[in-house]
Subunit: 378 residues, 2 copies
């Protein structure tokens, strides 16, 4: 693996320049206006390093999904640590990342239609290596059209179903049939892909590997993804590549699923208590517009996030700008209006999509405010 | 009421100029890239007009909540139709609307702290009339500080609880105690406010009216809000003002609650079918990043939106960019990859917050692409 260095501020000109402070911009957490989305760069680097070491140890390529952070800065950190390329979910994300100098992209989405082919062609011309996942012929035709427009070869991965019941071809034979159509002047079939790494992944891969070998169609890539299953990726025989997104920040779901500890969570929503109408009820200034309405399965925990300072509180209801705290089962101290708290969101990826920028710090020293460059990019 | 005229494109220079077309921008719906958030201006105007007529008929002031659309253009249409002012939920929304020339604002949120006082002061200096709702002394002190910084008088409404159990003082006496503190060089107590117009509103208002009269504290405003209860606002004795947000667009919840019909829904998410892995399952290119994860109570309907063309389909699962359609209970035709569909979202307000712009049309002719100016403004 590539070892991440233990940086000092002086070593990082970008960070150093930012710490000298934009006019009027807070230097300390206590001065940040809430709600604020705050990223701990030390924890981010530790999370990047840990996953890279694990995948290096098992000779699985690391292709992190940038939908979680949507920040070119962090994508470059992931590549510097040893990632082979990145994964994006929309053409807009691909455009943003390609424009930020990233040269190896995998788009894991069925793109459909001429307008998207035109945009995809623009990406193809900007990067060194582009692949797109498809599960049907209409999407494949769009990729072919993009390759033709760009006069570049675009790689194709066929997506298969492994248990999520979202999309993906349903059988190895269907994968082979589609793979055989992924030929042409500007198309190159590269392999198979699934999301997440569901219970059906191993048996599908085994059957498909046999079928494709017998058919004489090489499989150079077999790619799976998802943070919950990532520490068991080595148990799936044949995987060549892993795509994890959430793992860079982690979230309450990561902790509930055993993929991380709360100490490893690198993104917090800083909030203020704005009302305490009753002893067992308080209101924070973070609602669905920053925490999202994403819930967890009941067994993983109630409510819309974990409050570091009040672990017994349940964020029981969200409006767009309000979060209602149910303190009735909590033995924590009762918060006061004006208190500041930190929330680990249930699901961190859509939080990045809700804010125009995130505040980045090391050990409580604010380094910079990073625009979420790929926010909202469809 | 102020009657909305039946505009022609020629009468509206802004619209006419936009229909001549930005370079390369689609003129027809079929050319729009999906997912797209599309607003029908004829329906918007009909919805504005209908609510204004109802409230005019009952001599209740109309102060629409702009959190739903976040568009200065539509806020000005609401004012031109007869609204007395607008309601905002964040200082960022207030700044955006004040900067767009709107002169009468009500901020229905407890603002806390010096940084927010500074921003609120800036708004106070820009508008003719500003009021803020509070339910505690810390928020009241912030409003007082803003008034002092701005050297302007800011109105204060005391928020009370009427059944939502979010925030608001719990008794008429608590309201009176807080109202008495809303005095000072730059504060003016104006009345009471609640959200929504819950089952406890009428009895609270009756008791508070007596208590405040006996105490010699005048109540010039009694304000309630919420689209679900709006057509019954006249049944609540003493209301002087109504704040509805969703009613300008309506959504699946509006229809389920009987506040509107699907024909009155003015905002649709246009989507494309991107996968049909099995006969009873299809995938659309709209997930939680455009539809949000907001669900309805089970009795109001399953899934994450209503598909106009496939009313029997259930949007059963959302990822960030995927919506899975469960067609197993549907007698609709089976969609094909590439088909375009229109979705009425469960809850329309957070949809506006997710997109950088909306596409505005009249009768299918695209007029303009409006930036969602108050998107993400905290």
């Amino acid at each position: 693996m590539v070892q991440m260095r233990d940086h000092t501020l002086e070593e990082l000109p970008l960070e150093r320049s930012m710490t000298s402070g934009a006019a009027g911009y807070p230097r300390t957490m206590a001065d940040l206006e809430t709600p604020a989305v705050v990223v701990d760069l030390n924890r981010v680097e530790a999370n990047i390093s840990k996953l890279q070491a694990y995948l290096d140890g098992h000779k699985i390529a690391n292709r992190p999904h940038i939908k979680t952070h949507k920040l070119p800065y962090l994508a470059h950190l992931q590549l510097r640590a040893g990632a082979s390329g990145i994964t994006v979910q929309t053409i807009g994300e691909a455009q943003t990342m390609a424009s930020a100098g990233i040269r190896d992209l995998l788009l894991t989405y069925n793109v459909i239609g001429e307008a998207k082919a035109l945009r995809l062609a623009g990406v193809a011309r900007l990067v060194d290596k582009l692949a797109v996942a498809v599960d049907n012929e209409v999407a494949l035709a769009t990729v072919a059209r993009a390759g033709e427009l760009a006069k570049r070869t675009i790689g194709v991965l066929v997506e298969f179903e492994s248990g999520k019941r979202r999309q993906g071809v349903m059988s190895p034979q269907a994968a082979l049939d589609l793979a055989r159509k992924a030929q042409g002047d500007h198309l190159e079939f590269r392999g198979l892909l699934t999301y997440p790494c569901g219970p059906g992944a191993a048996s599908f891969i085994e059957a498909a590997t046999t079928l494709f070998r017998e058919a004489g169609v090489p499989l150079s890539v077999i790619s799976a993804g998802g943070t919950p299953q990532m520490w068991r990726a080595h148990e799936v025989s044949g995987l060549t590549e892993y795509r994890a997104g959430t793992s860079i920040y982690h979230d309450r779901r990561s902790v509930a699923q055993g993929s991380a500890t709360f100490d490893e969570c690198a993104l917090h929503v800083h909030v203020t208590v704005v009302s305490t109408p009753e002893p067992d009820r308080a209101v924070i200034d973070a609602g669905s517009k920053v925490l999202t309405s994403d819930a967890l399965p009941a067994a993983m925990g109630a409510g819309y996030g974990h409050i570091v300072e009040l672990p017994g509180a349940v964020i029981s209801e969200l409006s767009e700008e309000h979060g209602v705290l149910d303190l009735s089962a909590s033995s924590d101290r009762r918060p006061l209006v004006g208190d500041r708290l930190r929330v680990v969101p249930n699901h961190v990826c859509p939080v990045s999509n809700l804010v125009d920028d995130v505040v980045v710090h090391r050990g409580g020293v604010i380094l910079m405010r990073l625009p979420v460059a790929a926010r909202g990019k469809r």
